[in-house]
């Protein structure tokens, strides 16, 4: 089981309490689709993803970014049992969506960059450590049910 210090818990809940989902969600997904273009393979039904401008302006991408970010809320509320919390979502991503779990890490890195850009110097090394630890646990949980 993952151990969290009080400081780590407070850092994670603090980040999400002050998060603008409508702003950061879309930006993180847009960044992922541009920086790691092979991730576009999962969004062929989203319409125009032909270039950076199209991706930025695509309402399906924006909506999905917000949805994915809200998906992290469950982990924030259940930090002591993230593995069980995401069992169902893991099966969904494996059996139905067929997402290569390595992509979870790529999106997590893009989210880290967006949060860093938003928080600026408030995103200290300790904050980064806690946030990346949290995302690593989420990513691991999402990859758990693949076989």
């Amino acid at each position: 089981m993952v151990e969290w210090t009080e400081q780590e818990r407070s850092i994670i809940t603090g980040i999400f309490a002050n998060l603008s989902y409508e702003e950061i969600g879309p930006k993180a997904l847009v960044r992922c689709l541009i920086v790691y273009p092979w991730t576009q393979r999962y969004f062929s039904s989203f319409g125009n993803l032909y270039n950076a401008e199209a991706i930025r302006g695509n309402p399906n991408v924006a909506a999905h970014g917000i949805k994915v970010l809200h998906g992290l809320d469950r982990a924030v509320k259940n930090m002591d049992n993230i593995k069980a919390t995401y069992a169902e979502l893991s099966v969904l991503h494996s059996e139905k969506l067929h997402v290569d779990p390595d992509n979870f890490r790529l999106l997590a890195d893009c989210l880290t960059i967006e949060i860093a850009a938003k928080l600026g110097t408030a995103f200290t090394a300790d904050t980064q450590a806690a946030f990346q630890k949290f995302l690593a646990v989420v990513v691991s949980a999402l990859g758990r049910q693949y076989h």
């Binding site: 960044r31 110097t121 450590a129």
Partner: protein, 144 residues
Amino acid sequence: MTSLNAKDKNAVKAFWAKVPGNEEKIGADALSRMLAVYPQTKTYFSHWKDLSPGSPQVRKHGKTIVCGVGEAVGKIDNLTAGLLNLSELHAFTLRVDPANFKILSHNLLVVLAIAFPTEFTPEAHVALDKFLASLAGALSEKYR
């Protein structure tokens, strides 16, 4: 690993033009984050007295690294040839596991995102990510 096209090279050079004068600040921050977020990297610095963020050794080494990256920007048209000496250093003397190049690159990108939030667009990000990956490849050339 994809090679850099003209667009990538121009994007990297344009972005890196903001760095001169800030090498120590950026390098120290990136190095400190790496040591804090990926504690296994501390194993390479067991000979340092002080691994804390503001320490003179962290600041000096951070500056060395970022200046090195800057030099690589200048040699962007042939990284493998241009970084031959540095590759030999990392391969035979330092023997840094190449996996760590990715880790340091990530932290460098985080620092650049914080320092230049508007300019570190996804387009700049992808160019720099490709460049740092190429740099890491060039540094790994002499390993085996």
